[in-house]
């Protein structure tokens, strides 16, 4: 596939943000986490695109929208490899990677069914910790139980 045809798959935007290198299975989660299903701006996305580095990837382009770091970092849980490109007047003005934040609020459920956040209307709060093998876990601010990556579900 030549470069020109590849660009045609997902339209270019003249102003806005491109989120590239999303694991293809996480594209819809990223859309939900960033609330893109509710935006009034144009959103283009692609899934199962070929990527040299990752095999298959997803991409999302959002017109006229720029994200604060803390907002974009929310997607790091599902798309740690994602890269961010900000475009103004067709020019790339900023490139960035996502980083996993120290605290995660509201977007993830606690895996403990007897946690207050699963029993009453209490928004979740976690701090991000790593176990001795370096695996990411979310320590619940309320029930103090750790939710591991395999048990992550999104609100």
């Amino acid at each position: 596939m030549n470069k020109k045809r590849k660009e045609l798959i997902v339209s270019a935007i003249n102003n806005g943000t491109v989120i590239d290198h999303i694991p293809t299975e996480s594209v819809f989660q990223v859309i939900r986490i960033l609330g893109l299903d509710k935006t009034k701006n144009q959103v283009y996305f692609g899934t199962n695109l070929d990527s040299k580095k990752y095999g298959l990837k997803g991409i999302i382009k959002i017109s006229d929208t720029y994200f604060a770091n803390e907002e974009i970092n929310k997607i790091a849980l599902v798309a740690p490899s994602a890269t961010l490109i900000e475009i103004k007047d067709f020019e790339v003005v900023r490139k960035a990677n996502v980083t996993i934040p120290d605290n995660i609020e509201k977007i993830v459920k606690c895996f403990n069914p007897n946690c207050i956040t699963n029993k009453q209307e209490v928004p979740t709060r976690f701090s991000v910790i790593y176990d001795e093998n370096g695996n990411l876990k979310l320590a619940c601010h309320y029930c103090e139980k750790n939710t591991s990556k395999e048990n992550l579900t999104f609100v």
């Binding site: 007897n114 946690c115 207050i116 956040t117 209490v122 309320y142 029930c143 103090e144 139980k145």
Partner: protein, 302 residues
């Protein structure tokens, strides 16, 4: 500690823990004072726990405070579906401090965030029970003369036993050598072991109790609780694995004391009760002094 809620033992530093224990020692010498005179303490037991509730109520009344509240959720507005937030906000209008026990984990932390008055967690499901932890520490210090450098043996359900988790974490301040006796299925969770490892302390795990008795300064027995098990078959397999009886103590150290958060079922034989090393009933009495100390220090009356 003034006006600060006590939700988890992790909320207190080593110095704050010691301060509570020192104050509890004063109350033990003189448990009837007017420290809480004019204060109203709410005691909200969303699930029944007669032992803990009576201990708190006795602590308050001996200090001339008054108590309002309920002993179980079915006699309160909670049974009509009132949210925890609404109950807490309502009760905080009538009280200076709220003691609460609730079956849901994290409920006390949440209550402390919505409540204008301080909260003392008297147990939130399988999560935390910090006043039990402080009374355990008090009992250890009182019987051993120190909290430092002790050989402490935990026995039974180390996986689901919240008193074990809190106490083990608190003991990481005190250079403890941990001996962990449990069936393989009920080993101490890695989240708790992490604290021990981070403090660079020694721990050993055993499945048999016999081999570790003679090395122990404290044996902390626990009941294997049916209600904590997601799988009833898992409970049936392990419910009777440990039984401490008097003959097993023949070679133990003179200073050994046996603790148990009570109620016990059959993990300690009654023939141990008359042994001078049995300490579980005095341990419960210490709970009153420790709770007096916590109440007084949060209300800044001592």
């Amino acid at each position: 500690m003034k006006n600060r809620s006590l939700v988890s033992i992790n909320d207190y530093s080593k110095e704050e823990i010691i301060k509570i224990l020192d104050l509890a020692e004063e109350f033990e010498k003189n448990p009837r004072q007017e420290t809480l005179k004019g204060k109203v303490i709410a005691s909200l037991f969303f699930e029944p726990s007669t032992r803990t509730r009576l201990s708190f109520e006795s602590a308050v009344q001996q200090l001339s405070g008054s108590i309002i509240g309920f002993a179980s959720a079915d006699t309160s507005s909670v049974s009509k579906g009132e949210s925890l937030k609404d109950t807490i906000l309502t009760v905080s209008n009538y009280s200076d401090l709220i003691v609460m026990r609730h079956p849901v984990e994290g409920s006390a932390r949440y209550a402390s965030e919505v409540s204008p008055v301080p909260i003392i967690n008297a147990g939130d499901g399988a999560n935390q029970h910090p006043t039990q932890c402080l009374l355990d520490l008090y009992s250890i210090r009182k019987t051993q003369g120190t909290l430092d450098n002790l050989d402490i043996t935990f026995v039974g359900d180390l996986k689901y036993g919240r008193t074990v988790h809190s106490l083990a974490i608190a003991l990481c301040h005190f250079n403890t050598r941990f001996h962990l006796v449990s069936p393989v299925e009920l080993k101490l969770p890695s989240a708790v072991k992490r604290h021990i490892k981070e403090a660079k302390l020694q721990y050993e795990q055993y499945t048999s109790l016999n081999e570790v008795i003679d090395a122990s300064d404290i044996i902390y027995m626990t009941r294997i609780q049916r209600e904590r098990f997601p799988d009833p078959l898992e409970y049936e397999k392990v419910k009777n694995v440990y039984n401490l009886n008097n003959s097993m103590l023949s070679g133990s150290k003179d200073n050994l004391r046996i603790l148990h958060p009570l109620p016990r079922v059959n993990e300690i034989s009654i023939d141990v009760d008359t042994n001078a090393k049995a300490y579980y009933f005095e341990q419960a009495l210490n709970g009153v002094y420790v709770r007096q100390a916590i109440l007084a220090s949060i209300l800044a009356l001592k």
